[in-house]
C-alpha cells in the first residue's frame, strides 16, 4: 500500500472517529439512555483525558480496553474491587505486560482511568509496577480517578522506558497518579519513583497528587525522583505519616489549599526546589518535618493564617531553613536549623510570627525579621555561629530569653524597626553584641547580658534607646551611644572603655556600675551625660571634651589595684637589679686561660 493511501485512510478514520464522538456527545446530551451506554462513555472519557493511545477504563463490574478511542475489548472482573494482578492477567501484553520470570512484576503500557465507584488495588500479588514512559504525549501512562479508590501497598512504582530500561533525563512524558474529587488514594509502605509530567504540564500531574476534594493517606512511603514528590492540591483529611520525598526535580512536598491534613514525620532530601511548600490553608500544623540538602528552602510557607510548625529540622538547605511569607499568627516551635544562609526568615505584609525555642547554628543570619512584617516574637532557644544572630528590620519585635553565641553581630536592629524589646537575652562571643541603627525608634533592652564582645557591647544610633538592668562583661567599648539614650542599672566589667558618647549626644544614667580597664565614661565634644547614684572605676574614670554630670551618691574611683601584676613587675625588676649588682661586682673578672680547643669560655 502506498503511503499516500495509508494517510488518506488514517485521515478518514480520524474524521470518522471525530464525527462519531461528536455525535455521541450530542446524543449523550440529548438522550439519557444513550449516555448510559458504556461505549459512549468510554469515548467521552477517552476524549476528556487527552486521547491516549491505550486507555483502560475501569467501571463497576466492567473493564474496557480502549484503543485509539475504539473499544478493543471488554473484560468482566466481576463484582468488587479490581486488582492490578487481574488486569495484568486479562488485559493482554500490549496493555499490561507480565514478567514471565517474576509474576509479581508488571509493566503498564496504557493509561488507567478509574470511574466513580471503582477500586483498584495494587500490592497483594503485584509488588513491582513499571509505568512505560517516553514516546508521544498520547502514549503516556497514568492512573487517574475521581470518586474512585486507588489503594497501593507494599509496592514499588517506577517509570521506565518503552523497553523496560531506565529513563534518560529529559525523556517525556512520564507517568503520574492523580486522584480527583471524591476519590481516595492510599499509599503505604511503597516507593514511587520517576513520576510527573515535566515542562508546562499542569501541576496536578507533577507526580502523585491528591486533587481537590480527594482524601486518603501516604504512610511509610518514599517518593523519589518525581517532578514534585507529593502534592496535596485542595485535598481533604489526608494523612501523611513518615513520608520521604527526595531527589525531586522541583519541590519535595507541596501542601496547597488542603484541609484537615494530618502531618507527622515528613522528610525532604536533595530536592530541586524547596523541601516542603505549604500554603493556602489556615490553622495547619506540621510536626517533625526534616529537610536536608534541598536547593531551595527547607520549609517555605506562602501566605496563610495559623500555621504551626513543630520540631522542624533543617540542615544544609541552600536557599534557607524556614521561610514564612505573610504568615499571620504563625508559630515555629523547637525548630533546629543549621548550615544554611538564613535559618528562619519572616517577610511579607501582615506577618505575625512567634519563633519559640529555636536551635539555630552556622550561617549568615539566624533569624531575619523583614521590614514589612506586622510583629514577631522570639522566645528562648539558642542562635550560634552566624554573621548576624538576629536581624530585626520590622516593627513590634520582642526577643526574650534567647542565647546568641559566636555571631559576629548578635542582634541587629535596623530598617523600619520600632518598638523593639530585647529581654533577658544573652549574647556571648560577638564582635558587636547589639546594634541599633539611626532609622529605628523605641528600642529597649531589659536585663540583656553581653559577654566577651571583641568590639562593642552595644552600639546605638537609635533615638530614645532604653537600657534597663543587664550587664556587659568584656568588650572593647561596652556601650557606644550615637543618639540620646537612657541607661538604668547597667553593670559593665572587663571593658577597655565603659561608655562612649559621640558628639552632641545626650544621655542619662542611674545606678550604673562601670569597671573599665582604660576609660570609664568618655564623652566627645558637646556630649552630656547625667549619672545618678552610680559607680565608675577605671584608670581614667572620666574622659573626653564632653560633660559628665554627677548626681546623688555617684562614686568615681580607680579600679582595684592589680597586686599580682605589681608583684610580678617588682620581681622582674629585682632580678634585673640583682644581676646588675653581680655584673658590677665581677666587672674585672678576666676570661680563663685555657687551651684553644675550648670555646665556651665567656
Amino acid at each position: 500500500m502506498k503511503p499516500t493511501t495509508v494517510s488518506r485512510i488514517s485521515t478518514a478514520v480520524t474524521v470518522a472517529v471525530t464525527v462519531l464522538t461528536a455525535l455521541s456527545a450530542v446524543s449523550a446530551a440529548m438522550s439519557p439512555a444513550a449516555a448510559a451506554d458504556p461505549a459512549q462513555s468510554d469515548l467521552a472519557a477517552w476524549q476528556r483525558n487527552g486521547k491516549p493511545d491505550r486507555l483502560i477504563v475501569v467501571r463497576p463490574g466492567v473493564v474496557d480496553l480502549v484503543h485509539h478511542g475504539v473499544i478493543e475489548a471488554r473484560r468482566s472482573p466481576g463484582a468488587g474491587d479490581v486488582r492490578m494482578s487481574w488486569l495484568a492477567a486479562n488485559a493482554g501484553p500490549d496493555w499490561i505486560t507480565q514478567d514471565s520470570d517474576d509474576p509479581s512484576a508488571v509493566q503498564v503500557r496504557a493509561a488507567v482511568l478509574l470511574t466513580p465507584g471503582t477500586t483498584l488495588r495494587i500490592g497483594r500479588v503485584t509488588k513491582k509496577v513499571l509505568f512505560t514512559a517516553g514516546g508521544s504525549a498520547a502514549s503516556g501512562t497514568w492512573i487517574r480517578g475521581s470518586r474512585a479508590t486507588l489503594d497501593i501497598r507494599d509496592t514499588a512504582l517506577a517509570a521506565v522506558g518503552p523497553g523496560g530500561g531506565d529513563l534518560a533525563d529529559g525523556t517525556g512524558p512520564r507517568p503520574y497518579l492523580y486522584m480527583g474529587a471524591g476519590g481516595r488514594l492510599d499509599i503505604s509502605d511503597s516507593t514511587v519513583s520517576g513520576f510527573g509530567l515535566s515542562g508546562r504540564a499542569p501541576s496536578r500531574f507533577s507526580g502523585v497528587t491528591w486533587g481537590k476534594g480527594s482524601t486518603g493517606s501516604a504512610v511509610r512511603s518514599t517518593f523519589q525522583g518525581n517532578r514534585t514528590g507529593l502534592r496535596l492540591a485542595g485535598s481533604v483529611g489526608v494523612r501523611l505519616n513518615d513520608v520521604t520525598a527526595k531527589d525531586s526535580a522541583e519541590d519535595g512536598f507541596v501542601l496547597n489549599r488542603d484541609t484537615g491534613t494530618s502531618v507527622t514525620g515528613l522528610t525532604a532530601r536533595s530536592n530541586g526546589r524547596n523541601g516542603v511548600t505549604v500554603g493556602g490553608t489556615d490553622g495547619r500544623t506540621l510536626s517533625r518535618v526534616t529537610t536536608r540538602d534541598n536547593k531551595g528552602f527547607g520549609v517555605r510557607a506562602t501566605p496563610q493564617n495559623g500555621l504551626s510548625l513543630v520540631r522542624a529540622d533543617s540542615g544544609s538547605d541552600r536557599g534557607g531553613g524556614i521561610r514564612l511569607l505573610s504568615c499571620v499568627n504563625c508559630t515555629v516551635s523547637d525548630a533546629t536549623v543549621r548550615h544554611t544562609k538564613t535559618a528562619v526568615s519572616v517577610t511579607g505584609p501582615g506577618s505575625r510570627v512567634t519563633v519559640d525555642k529555636p536551635r539555630l547554628s552556622d550561617g549568615r543570619t539566624g533569624i531575619s525579621l523583614g521590614e514589612d512584617i506586622r510583629s514577631a516574637t522570639v522566645t528562648g532557644g539558642t542562635v550560634g555561629d552566624f554573621t548576624r544572630g538576629v536581624s530585626v528590620s520590622g516593627p513590634r519585635v520582642t526577643v526574650a530569653g534567647t542565647r546568641i553565641d559566636g555571631s559576629r553581630t548578635g542582634i541587629s536592629v535596623a530598617g523600619r524597626a520600632h518598638d523593639v524589646a530585647l529581654r533577658e537575652v544573652t549574647i556571648a562571643g560577638s564582635r558587636t553584641a547589639v546594634t541599633a541603627a539611626a532609622t529605628t525608634t523605641g528600642v529597649s533592652l531589659t536585663s540583656v547580658q553581653v559577654r566577651n564582645a571583641s568590639g562593642k557591647g552595644l552600639a546605638s544610633a537609635s533615638t530614645g534607646l532604653r537600657i534597663k538592668g543587664g550587664s556587659v562583661s568584656g568588650a572593647g567599648t561596652a556601650v557606644d551611644l550615637g543618639a540620646p539614650a537612657r541607661l538604668d542599672g547597667l553593670t559593665i566589667t572587663g571593658a577597655q572603655r565603659g561608655i562612649h558618647l559621640s558628639r552632641a549626644v545626650r544621655a542619662t544614667g542611674t545606678e550604673l556600675d562601670v569597671l573599665a580597664e582604660r576609660k570609664g565614661i568618655e564623652a566627645d565634644r558637646g556630649a552630656v551625660i547625667d549619672i545618678t547614684d552610680s559607680r565608675v572605676r577605671a584608670p581614667l574614670a572620666m574622659a573626653g571634651d564632653g560633660e559628665i554630670v554627677r548626681h546623688g551618691h555617684t562614686e568615681v574611683t580607680l579600679p582595684p589595684f592589680p597586686w599580682l601584676g605589681f608583684a610580678a613587675i617588682v620581681a622582674l625588676l629585682s632580678a634585673i637589679g640583682l644581676q646588675t649588682v653581680h655584673q658590677v661586682r665581677h666587672r674585672r673578672t678576666p676570661r680563663p686561660k685555657v687551651a684553644r680547643h675550648v670555646r665556651n669560655t665567656a
Binding site: T491, A568, A575, I576, H582, N600
Partner: protein, 413 residues
C-alpha cells in the same frame, strides 16, 4: 540584680581558677629571690694560698681525644701528681695515659667509688682533686681551688663548670642549667654558710685526710637496704658537711665537660641524678647536722617542693586551653618566657642568643619535673643507666663488656 550577681560569679570563677597560680608563682619567685640575693653578693676567695695537690681520675671507656685534652689540661696546672685509675678492660685509655707523665693504677673492680678510693689512697699530697676523665681544666684551676682552703674549716671546694663546646639544643640547655646552678644555687649556698649541697664530681678538691677518714662510710652507703652505686659526689659532700666541715664553690676555677646530645641519654642521666638527689636530700633532712646549715636545708626543701609545683603551671595552661581562654594562655606563655629569662640572666649576659632557646628550656624544665617525680617513685633502683654497670646482690658488676660508651660526669642537679 541578677546581672550583677552573674557578673560577680563570673569574676569569682575567674579568680578562683587562676588566683592560686598567681599566688603560687609569687611564692616561687620569693624563694628564688631569697637564693638569688645572696648569690649576687658572691665573690670567689682571693689570696695566694697554695697546697700541694694530686689529681685522681677514674677512667673507663673515655673518648680518646677528650681524654688526651683533659690530661694535658691537668698537667698544665702544675699539680704534684696525676693518678689515673683505669679499668683493666680499657686498653685504649691505658695506651693514651702511657704517653704522659702520670701515675696509672689499673683496677679490675668495676665501679667509680672503688676507683676513687684507690686513687686517693695512692695520692700523697694534702689536697686531692677528684676529676672526671672528660673534664678539661683552665690553666689556673689548681691554684684557684687551693685558695678557699686557707680556712681550716673548709673540707672541700668545687669549681664552676660549663659544657665543652656545646652543640645542638640539648647541650645548650645543659649549659643553661649549669650556669643557673653556679650563679644561683651553689653561689648562694657558698655565701650563706659555706655549705654547698653537692661539689660536682667533674672536679672537686678535698683534703686527703678527710677522704681517708670517710672512705669506709663512702663505700658502705646504702639507701633503704640497697647499696648505692651512683651519686658519689653528693655522698662525699654530705659526709664532709656531716662531720662539721664546710664546702665552698670557687667560681673562678673553671672546667668544661662533655654532655650528652641525645634525648635518651639526657633523660637517663637526669633520672639518675634526680634519684641521687632525692636519696641524699631526704636522708640529710632527716638528720640533725643539716639544720646547722639552715640555708642549705631551705634549698633542699625548696628543690623538693619545686618538683611538684613546677607541674602546676602546665596544668593551668592546659586548663586555659580547654577553656579557650586565649588571653590567659598568651599571658602565661609570655610570662614563662620573660620570667625564666630573668632567672637565667647570668647565662643570657654570657650568651644572648640563648634567649630564643628559653621556651625550649621551659619545656625541658617541665619534663625534668616529671623525671624528678618518676625518680621519687623509683628511688630504690640502682642503675647507672648510661654505663654497662649495675648493683647486683649488693655488689657492683659489669652488665656488658662490649659497648664503648662515652663517660659522663655525675653532678646531682
Amino acid at each position: 540584680m541578677n546581672g550583677l550577681l552573674d557578673n560577680t560569679l563570673i569574676n569569682l570563677r575567674y579568680y578562683l581558677i587562676y588566683l592560686p597560680l598567681g599566688v603560687l608563682g609569687l611564692v616561687r619567685w620569693g624563694c628564688w629571690l631569697l637564693r638569688r640575693a645572696p648569690a649576687a653578693l658572691y665573690k670567689p676567695v682571693k689570696n695566694g694560698f697554695r697546697l700541694p695537690m694530686s689529681v685522681v681520675v677514674p677512667v673507663y671507656q673515655e673518648d680518646p681525644e677528650i681524654f688526651a685534652h683533659a690530661i694535658e689540661s691537668w698537667l698544665a696546672n702544675d699539680v704534684e701528681e696525676v693518678i689515673l685509675v683505669i679499668d683493666a678492660t680499657d686498653h685504649a685509655c691505658r695506651d693514651i695515659a702511657s704517653r704522659y707523665p702520670v701515675t696509672v693504677v689499673v683496677t679490675d673492680v668495676p665501679g667509680k667509688r672503688d676507683a676513687l678510693v684507690r686513687g686517693w689512697e695512692a695520692a700523697s699530697t694534702d689536697l686531692v682533686a677528684l676529676v672526671d676523665s672528660d673534664t678539661i681544666w683552665a690553666d689556673d684551676v689548681a691554684a684557684e681551688t687551693c685558695k678557699p682552703f686557707i680556712d681550716p674549716r673548709i673540707g672541700g671546694v668545687g669549681t664552676r663548670q660549663n659544657v665543652y663546646n656545646p652543640k645542638g639544643f640539648l647541650q645548650r640547655v645543659n649549659d643553661m642549667f649549669l650556669d643557673y646552678r653556679y650563679f644561683d644555687e651553689n653561689a648562694s649556698q657558698s655565701v650563706m654558710g659555706r655549705a654547698v649541697s653537692c661539689l660536682s664530681g667533674r672536679t672537686a678538691v678535698y683534703r686527703r685526710e678527710l677522704l681517708l677518714e670517710i672512705s669506709d662510710d663512702f663505700m658502705a652507703e646504702t639507701f633503704m637496704g640497697v647499696p648505692c652505686m651512683s651519686g658519689d659526689d653528693k655522698r662525699l659532700t654530705t659526709l664532709i658537711l656531716e662531720r662539721g666541715h664546710l664546702a665552698f664553690m670557687q667560681r673562678s676555677a673553671r672546667v668544661w665537660s662533655t654532655f650528652p646530645g641525645t634525648l635518651r641519654i639526657f633523660l637517663k642521666q637526669r633520672l639518675r641524678w634526680a634519684r641521687n638527689t632525692w636519696r641524699s636530700d631526704l636522708r640529710a633532712l632527716s638528720r640533725r647536722w643539716v639544720w646547722r646549715h639552715p640555708f642549705l636545708a631551705f634549698t633542699m626543701i625548696d628543690k623538693g617542693v619545686s618538683s611538684f609545683t613546677l607541674l602546676l603551671a602546665p596544668a593551668f595552661m592546659t586548663l586555659a586551653v580547654i577553656r579557650q581562654d586565649w588571653f590567659f594562655v598568651a599571658c602565661l606563655a609570655g610570662w614563662w618566657w620573660v620570667s625564666r629569662s630573668m632567672k637565667i640572666l647570668p647565662h643570657l649576659v654570657r650568651r644572648p642568643s640563648s634567649f630564643f632557646l628559653v621556651p625550649g628550656f621551659v619545656l625541658v624544665s617541665f619534663a625534668m619535673a616529671v623525671v624528678k617525680l618518676g625518680a621519687l617513685a623509683t628511688i630504690r633502683k640502682q642503675r647507672w643507666l648510661t654505663r654497662q654497670v649495675s648493683v647486683e646482690n649488693g655488689v657492683v658488676v659489669r652488665t656488658s663488656q662490649s659497648a664503648a660508651q662515652p663517660a659522663e660526669s655525675e653532678a646531682t642537679a
